[in-house]
Amino acid sequence: MLILTCPYCGVAAEETELHPGGEAHLTRHGPGSTDADFEWYLFARRNPKGVHFERWRHLYGCGKWFLAARDTVTLQVFGTYPAQSKYPPREIIAAIRADRPDWVPHWDEITGDSAPGVGNDPAPNPTPARDSFA
């Protein structure tokens, strides 16, 4: 059973105090998007074996959604950060690189472009979609 530290209230919460929300950093595709983009947004999930970015809500706590970078195999947690993040912050990336030198992000950090196949998103806050009602 995981422990994740809520970046808002600093509480190291155990999994029963949290609510999982699936993959983070998805780009919402609304009306006008192509079927392929919309399908990707709504259904395609990376489900990697290794470094992964996830949405969690501190449900039995401050009620805030936050994001976590963690290894799905070893369960190592590289860090947690606010949900209002288009990409993982530098310190999270650094923490991942420190322990996973071979890790390659699935987006281009420099340009800020979305992952290949995901398409570019024109929305002002292109962060996550939610799996809770998908």
């Binding site: 808002y8 209230c9 600093g10 509480v11 190291a12 919460a13 155990e14 029963t16 105090e17 449900l59 039995y60 706590g61 401050c62 009620g63 805030k64």
Partner: protein
Amino acid sequence: MADAITMTPLAGIAEIRGLGMVLIRADLGRAGDAIAEAAGLALPETGRFTTDGLRWLGWMSPDELLLIVPGSERGRAVADVAGALTGEHALVQDVSDMRCVFDVTGRKPGQVLAKLCPADLETRPRDGLRRTRAAQVACAVWRIDGAETGRGWRLIAFRSVRDYVAQVLAGAAAPGSDLDPR
């Protein structure tokens, strides 16, 4: 090594009624001082509360505070805080009816909560406010230490589960169930 087992409850469970509660949602960085002034208390830090013994102001989330006042002052408190936030994007609401309140005091109140809450309360600061769960329901707990309340913990939960909370607290305080090693 171990003391003889004491066959009295670990703590007394007392329901507290009639408190006034005010929910405040606002940008605490911008409006915190105005709220503190209206509440008559210092703005609590993250995960803490401030109190003068009668009034209590707790940090619930980065943009949410809970103000607890004597029941008779609730209307005034809502008006004061709302007034102080005029022109601010804020939500101020009387929520005095939506929670139940229990004081857990006596021999070993911390042990009662240790059976219900998956939180390391022992190491919380004296002015720490921890939102967590008690058995299967959401709650918030903090330490109390007053002439009237006795020493222990105050727990708030939603009113619909008041009977449930009362029962699990009483069960956790059952005589002979001290957590001390034997």
